[in-house]
Symmetry: C2
Subunit: 333 residues, 2 copies
């Protein structure tokens, strides 16, 4: 059993806890929060006996195999680094890091700790319906790109409009639509089509200087991929992947509930998807557990390489729009 | 009755003929084609007694009030100019002209012929369902822009793939996705949101150097509008216009069959549209006839001003993608 400790106490952590409970690999052991009471309250919410820590060093020194991190983006780098250096495997929420400098540093730490794994929790790429899309794309005789959309009005945007500044809408916490929902779309594009030749992101900026919404265009040698992401508007658009007259449709490019293929205009679509699990994090938790238990270095390296590429594309998109995070400035020192 | 003559013999002309037959204003009188037999065959197809011309000067000198032009885009400028100089009102298919230089020249011709009208046949903006969208947008307390899509696999694209070069896929005839279907979307955006501050078009270019597909981003002070257009892929995406949690949905941003408003996520959409006419050109034919018969200079000027703005935006989009038409080069001499 892998003893797992959690950093971050939010709805995502709860979903992750529910996911690992369905898998034999994991034993939920400890919880860290800067405020001990918060950690304890969270423990009560998930109704489990846990060791509670408000001291990160003590938490990382405890008897844990894996650390799951679901904190604001700008905190990931230091927390992942500390956890790896403490000899733990790490699962970190997407986007793992703010920029390629951070990613490079972490890669060096990984190299210094052979046999330890770091996973970016891009849950959707591990789901069967994502794999169905991947398979269908591979069967096209040529690619004509895609229009992928993930734009949902944030539950925190009303507060933002009233003058509050939730973390997700700040540069300080490396927020914005691209980082929060766009990362799903970038994972899609890089998984299916590889690293683009050129990228351009055009955002609508909010008063905090981050992107409330934006359109990214990824240019490949023979086609383009358009990404629509946003947290200040509500979109019901499906996503589409093209090959001439053939159109592959995903109900949502971050959630993958239904995938259909329309072979020609006017022809009845074929359903390629299966009923998704209620908890979309089960498949990633299973995949990470498999890799750790089987020491599957090759599978780890494929995921790690994808994570590095996504990090580069996300960064280049963000910088093409002139959005600079504090961590970028630090990196230049 | 307005005696009307036709230049151009294609499916659009047939649809236009069917439209004007439903309106009392017009009397279809003559038909011009470079090949007389083609004109006569077309006359037979529309089952009407017409005067046939293969000499443009004689056609324009004949007893006509209005000329309708539906030829390849690159021919519009010279044909419109000749028709206006011959003292006729003109209805020309969209896009009217290849660039702002041509538009400027035509505006000078119009000024020299007071009382004569030129209409760009942007049929959709005259339809009741377009007006329903316009009205709903005006009722939003603020605008968050839109994602508008019109991408249909062209009936001529198979031939293009086999090595043929239909006019619509050439620079010589001022073709490409933006000019052919994108013009509907640009009309939408400029009608609803005005002239953008900045525009950027990223296309997938075909072997002839024109755009098979592309994404345009129009930047306004407080929001952005994204346009997806293409003739080499088949999209089933609806179009959306945003205001916070409210989403206005159009089944197709060039065809306007159904318009709905969703006031908040999860709420039942309200239908704002009516059943469209079978022939979508009836409303424009009616509008142009109204203006001519009533000498409605103010209404003409509003449409003319919109046409000038659309011409500028289309040109700036095309040039932002580095697509140069022969007429642009001529204009620099």
């Amino acid at each position: 059993m892998l003893k797992i400790g959690l950093i971050g106490t939010n709805w995502l952590t709860k979903q992750f806890v529910a996911a690992i409970r369905t898998i034999d690999y994991y034993q939920l052991t400890a919880l860290y929060s800067r405020k001990l009471t918060r950690a304890q309250e969270f423990g009560v919410e998930i109704e489990q006996e846990l060791a509670y820590f408000d001291d990160l060093t003590a938490f990382l020194a405890s008897d844990l195999d894996v650390i799951y991190i679901a904190t604001p983006n700008s905190l990931h780098f230091q927390q992942v680094k500390s956890a790896l250096e403490a000899g733990k495997h790490v699962i970190v929420e997407k986007p793992a890091f703010d920029n390629p400098q951070q990613m490079q540093t972490i890669q060096e730490v990984l190299q210094a700790h052979p046999g330890q794994y770091l996973f970016e929790a891009a849950r959707h790429i591990h789901e069967p319906n994502f794999q169905a899309v991947t398979q269908a794309i591979a069967e096209f005789d040529h690619q004509d790109g895609a229009v992928l959309t993930y734009m949902k009005y944030s539950s925190k945007f009303d507060a933002f409009l009233k003058g509050d500044t939730p973390n997700i809408f700040t540069k300080e916490f490396a927020g914005g639509a691209l980082q929060d929902l766009g990362v799903y779309l970038v994972y899609d594009a890089v998984s299916w089509f590889g690293v683009p030749e050129k990228v351009q992101y055009t955002p609508t900026l909010l008063r905090t200087g981050i992107d409330g919404r934006g359109t990214a265009v990824l240019t490949y040698p023979d086609f383009q991929v358009t990404l629509n992401t946003g947290k200040n508007v509500q979109s019901h658009l499906v996503s589409e992947i093209y090959s001439g007259k053939q159109t592959l449709t995903i109900d949502n490019a971050g959630e993958f509930n239904q995938v259909t293929l329309t072979k020609a205009p006017g022809v009845q679509p074929i359903v390629l998807s299966q009923q998704p699990d209620t908890n979309p994090m089960i498949h990633e938790a299973q995949a990470f557990g498999d890799i750790i238990n089987n020491h599957d270095q090759a599978r780890f390296e494929r995921l790690n390489s994808l994570s590095i590429n996504v990090n580069h594309v996300l960064y280049n998109l963000r910088r093409s729009a002139g959005i600079v995070f504090p961590a970028d400035e630090d990196g230049r020192k």
